[in-house]
């Protein structure tokens, strides 16, 4: 029985690792300028974690195989060579160094996303998350976002940001859309606003993931490097429609983007 | 690595025979054959003396959490400072006084148990006195709420009043617990089953209530 357990553990361990080794399931290909560091970090961690996972499981298996008691066994119990000290030191030194290294390199990737200010010429886009859709706002020719009047928000007539063009001049040329389009290779400064509860702005392909915090407007900035259509999904439980809260991100050439923006403006 | 110490010395104390039909005393409910407090002191086994400190630790933790909430909430722009009802200063004094009377009571009980004093009435009196002051304190808190209400400050009026009601109400609840403890001590004193550890624990808790109140009072009083 012990031998069987040993074999099972080892087989399961290896089988579990196979899909990762074969890259059966992969995150969407990275289309951001900062994502490289993150992917690197992920694969490094995968190697370290994978090795320690297999090592531990296989060692466990081997010892179970070897020392599960046979009826005839009347020998003495033996102690692991080096006793506990060796193991403890190994754990502290090896794992300590390993995790410190991971932490250090990891913070580089993190800093690349969060500790760099957006470029001054970054294109501002506002995203508002609400149950259960994202809506986006472009400042229009005047480059200014009109103020949001929560009491005026009305989805029935699509006044999604609670704009008051009658009184706010800045609001008149604001462009509100249900899908997000950005020009390729141009930095975007995304201003995040939550209409009701917590949501999250998760674009796997962009390697961007940030929660919306009601009452606290955050912002992230990124640059997309590949033309195409990607999905923005909500990853923070926000209610019954959470699973269906998404928008499409269109990365367009500058030309196409300008056309798109004109088209949207006409529709306002 | 396997620690095998030499067997410790065992001294056998006089034990009431417990092999009988099973009604045994001790611990929480020791009724000595002779209803005599001194016997109770001698025979009742030591109860847990750390428990009270463990409980206090838990209470501290809770109010630490509340405090952090208060500090976070104070940062928001809708925080209004409210002037505390004047009655609170009075009730604070009452609570401090009750701690003093309880200490006196404790000494009286001790001297009674040691036989120095054969009169059980005076310790009981001092305990009742503490009880009365405690009740007055709770009444004072209630009056404080009435005062706030008359100023139109309700639980949801603004964050500051919310915290005031939450803090005072929860503290008052804990004080009521302390009062129950006092009553229990008085009862046990009555039928000669009071153990000093019980009284001590009650006293420690009661003093802690005072300290906790001062802390909360300052927290609400001072602008942080």
């Amino acid at each position: 029985m012990g031998k069987l357990l040993a074999v099972t553990i080892i087989i399961i361990a290896i089988a579990s690792a196979v899909p990762f080794i074969l890259h059966t399931w992969e995150p969407p290909a990275d289309i951001s300028t900062h994502g490289g560091l993150i992917d690197e970090q992920m694969s490094d961690t995968m190697i370290e974690a994978g090795v320690s996972f297999l090592a531990a499981q296989i060692l466990l298996g081997i010892f179970i195989w070897q020392f599960s008691k046979k009826p005839s066994d009347t020998g003495k119990v033996k102690t692991f060579p080096g006793g506990a000290k060796g193991l403890v030191i190994a754990a502290i030194v090896l794992v300590g160094v390993e995790v410190l290294a991971l932490g250090a390199f990891g913070s580089k990737a993190w800093a690349a996303v969060y500790f760099t200010p957006p470029a001054p010429d970054a294109m501002p886009v506002q995203v508002q998350a609400g149950q259960f859709a994202f809506y986006f706002r472009y400042p229009g020719p005047d480059g200014k976002f009109g103020p949001i009047h929560p009491e005026m928000i009305n989805e029935g007539n699509q006044n999604l940001f609670g704009l008051d063009p009658a009184n706010d001049v800045e609001s008149r040329d604001d462009i509100v859309t249900a899908e997000m389009a950005i020009p390729v290779n141009k930095e975007v400064h995304l201003l995040m606003h939550a209409k009701d509860v917590s949501h999250s702005f998760y674009v796997p392909a962009l390697r961007i993931h940030q929660d919306f915090v009601p009452g606290l407007d955050l912002s992230v900035h990124f640059t997309a490097t590949k033309v195409g259509q990607y999905e923005i999904v909500c990853s923070q439980l926000c209610g019954l429609g959470h699973y269906n809260m998404r928008a499409y991100l269109k990365v367009l050439s500058q030309q196409d983007f300008d056309d798109w923006l004109k088209k949207q403006q006409a529709a306002q | 690595m396997a620690t095998t110490l030499p067997p410790p010395k065992i001294e056998i104390l006089p034990v009431p025979d417990r092999s009988g039909n099973g009604h045994v005393g001790g611990g929480q409910n020791l009724i000595p054959d002779v209803a005599n407090l001194r016997v109770a002191q001698q025979y009742s086994p030591p109860a847990s003396s750390s428990a009270i400190w463990v409980g206090i630790a838990a209470i501290c933790m809770s109010f630490a959490a509340f405090t952090s909430a208060l500090i976070v909430r104070q940062a928001s722009n809708d925080w209004r400072h409210i002037t505390l009802p004047s009655v609170l200063f009075l009730s604070t004094l009452l609570l401090l006084a009750s701690s003093v009377t309880l200490e006196v009571a404790r000494r009286r009980v001790a001297s009674y148990m040691l036989g120095a004093d054969s009169n059980i009435a005076s310790p009981r009196l001092w305990l009742y006195l503490t009880l009365g002051l405690g009740l007055l304190f709770v009444a004072g808190q209630y009056m404080a709420w009435l005062q706030l209400r008359s100023q139109g400050l309700y639980l949801a009026t603004n964050p500051n009043s919310s915290f005031f009601y939450v803090f005072t109400a929860l503290h008052a609840l804990h004080v009521l617990g302390g009062l129950a403890g006092l009553l229990r001590a008085i009862r046990k004193l009555g039928n000669a089953t009071l153990r000093r550890s019980t009284l001590n624990a009650t006293a420690i808790y009661w003093h802690f209530m005072g300290v906790l109140w001062i802390y909360l009072f300052l927290l609400l009083w001072l602008k942080i």
């Binding site: 609400g130 994202f134 989805e155 007539n157 249900a178 899908e179 269906n244 928008a247 529709a267 | -």
Partner: protein, 236 residues
């Protein structure tokens, strides 16, 4: 029982019939709803969030807060007798409310207190129906595709705004009314309240979100009264 009694009975019956049923001598109120001023611009709805619905609208639909017709006519105005007519028991017919292509059909649904309301989902996606009732009981239920229709009824008269949170642009109105004398203006703004026994009535026209106009009308015998309402609309 004498002949006299029978005659009286017959007369009484006849009287009752003429009072209630659409017999001779019952009048009709009809008319046109128009507006003055500039109606709010109706914005196109981008359904890209829900591809299965977007596919059903080659040209994107617009919002329906103000639906106008040629000659400043106004659609989706509910016209009903707010006073003068007795409350009536609910009819056996159901009021049908469909969700087609992530849009409410009809946008404005008028029905009677106690009448059975039948909500169906023709889409390939889950909707949640959320009538924001204030007087009646508020509820909020999802309806996955292929599930049986939701059956409900309201026991108090109220204008109820209906929305779907999963598809925030979906917006409609339940007009729950006390009697059967109501109509919703068509795309030419026309409405017709037939079978009104003689009497003095208050006619109310209601347009979302909360615009209301009333007129008093007296019906004597089988006449046709024409009433028209003019709503003032603002661009914002």
């Amino acid at each position: 029982m004498t002949l006299k009694h029978i005659c009286l009975a017959a007369a009484a019956t006849l009287a009752v019939v003429t009072m209630t049923a659409a017999g001779p001598g019952s009048g009709t109120i009809s008319g046109k709803i128009t507006y003055e001023g500039t109606p709010a611009k109706q914005k196109p709805i981008d359904m890209s969030k829900e591809p299965s619905c977007a596919a059903k609208h080659p040209t994107p639909i617009t919002t329906e807060t103000v639906v106008t017709g040629p000659g400043n006519t106004l659609e989706n105005v509910v016209v009903y007798i707010s006073a003068g007519a007795p409350d009536e028991a609910a009819p056996s017919t159901t009021a049908d409310f469909d969700q087609k292509g992530c849009q409410y059909v009809p946008h404005m649904l008028a029905f009677q207190v106690g009448q059975e309301l039948k909500i169906a989902n023709d889409d390939q996606t889950s909707h949640n129906i959320h009538p924001l009732a204030k007087i009646n009981r508020e509820w909020n239920k999802s309806q996955p595709p292929g599930t049986p229709p939701i059956i409900d009824k309201y026991d108090k008269a109220e204008m109820i705004h209906v929305k779907c949170n999963i598809h925030p642009w979906m917006s409609g109105t339940f007009a729950v009314l006390k009697n059967s004398h109501y109509a919703v203006s068509d795309k030419d703004g026309n409405f017709k309240l037939p079978n009104l026994p003689p009497g003095k009535y208050t006619v109310t026209a209601w347009h979302e979100p909360d615009q209301e106009m009333t007129q008093d009308v007296v019906i004597s015998g089988g006449e046709n009264k024409t009433v028209s309402f003019v709503f003032k609309l603002k661009p914002y």
